[in-house]
Symmetry: C2
Subunit: 213 residues, 2 copies
């Protein structure tokens, strides 16, 4: 499977890229800056330049020929909410439009737990949740992509345990490593298409959990 | 006609409220802070509290019984883009949801010229345009409101001339007073429903221009 990772240099993006590579998939890490390439070269992973501030048409050329796109880019806490608007929201929507231009049907969005419910947004970072909400809503209602929206709980740097809960989730945390494993595992699972899946650390092996999505 | 103005204390909001009042319409100025009421009391205009950071359900109670809603709120340049996300985008969408909850069909959005075309956004304030774009798109595609989106060109404090251009508009400026007149004039004009109307200073009297929208 030929997979393009947008936001590959993020914590989850690196894990996803490595896991896909180890699994033998043909992965290309989409990066913003040339100096981000070194990490991927060290792991024998190809890179390509992606500019989320650019045009969907340009991005569409880059995405041509891929089987799936994983969006895990985020402007992060170091930039202002101008970038939250232009990257996490508008950049995400551009990547969906680029996927459609390129004819790539499968699209995985890494979102955040409860992004779909304004009443449960984390008060400390409401603008971030708003951006995620409108990006996710565009994916659900304005595209014909075979999407899956993954909503991890509070992210930790713990070692992954390979077990998750995805039903009846109210809150909780999850290792980034297990979020990456979940994304990699659901890529070719058709029952996850057009679904929004909350993910926290749990007691069911990832593959098994995804069977009953 | 019973009209509720959201963002009434802004420059355009005040003009719209005053013009509606002079025309004999039953206008209520939606304001955020109690101290904003003085201006409207001086002009014999009723006020009501609106919190765009609150819940649509609460706003819906306030909007109950009105014939039309005009949204002209904006967080402005003095606050950060966190408020651009939470007021100009999410606050706007909440007001649409509130309109639907209250059963108010007519909804006028004051937007910005070319908000619908990412390639023409003003580079200096792209986050603002992104917020307007996603709010306008929600109005167009996610509601059943009888909306009109008004897209003024560069806003001036000039005295209005009562004449506008709305077709073949590429760019230009317009007095806030004429934007307000345009909004007031199109409120009861059914041919403006579900239309996006660019507005710049021009040579056609406002009412006449709106006939051929």
């Amino acid at each position: 499977m030929k997979v393009f990772v947008i936001g590959a240099n993020g914590n989850i993006g690196r894990l996803i890229s490595q896991q896909l590579n180890e699994k033998g998939e043909e992965v290309v890490a989409g990066i913003r800056k040339p100096e981000q390439a070194a990490f991927f070269e060290d792991h024998d992973i190809k890179t390509a330049h992606v500019d989320l501030l650019g045009r969907p048409e340009e991005m569409g050329v880059t995405l041509d020929g891929f089987d799936a796109i994983i969006f895990t880019a985020g402007s992060g806490g170091k930039t202002g909410d101008d970038m939250t608007l232009l990257v996490d929201l508008d950049g995400a929507v551009k990547s969906m439009q680029a996927a459609e231009i390129a004819g790539v049907k499968r699209y995985i969005m890494v979102s955040a737990l409860w992004a779909e419910n304004r009443n449960r947004w984390n008060d400390a970072i409401r603008p971030y949740y708003a951006a995620k909400f409108y990006a996710d809503e565009w994916l659900r209602t304005r595209t014909n992509l075979d999407y899956t929206i993954v909503e991890p709980g509070a992210l930790t740097f713990d070692k992954g345990v390979g077990k998750i809960n995805i039903s009846g989730v109210e809150g909780g945390s999850v290792a980034r490593e297990d979020v990456a494993r979940t994304v990699v595992a659901l890529l070719d699972q058709p029952q996850t298409i057009k679904r929004t899946i909350p993910v926290i650390t749990g007691d069911t092996p990832i593959k098994e959990a995804l069977k009953n999505v």
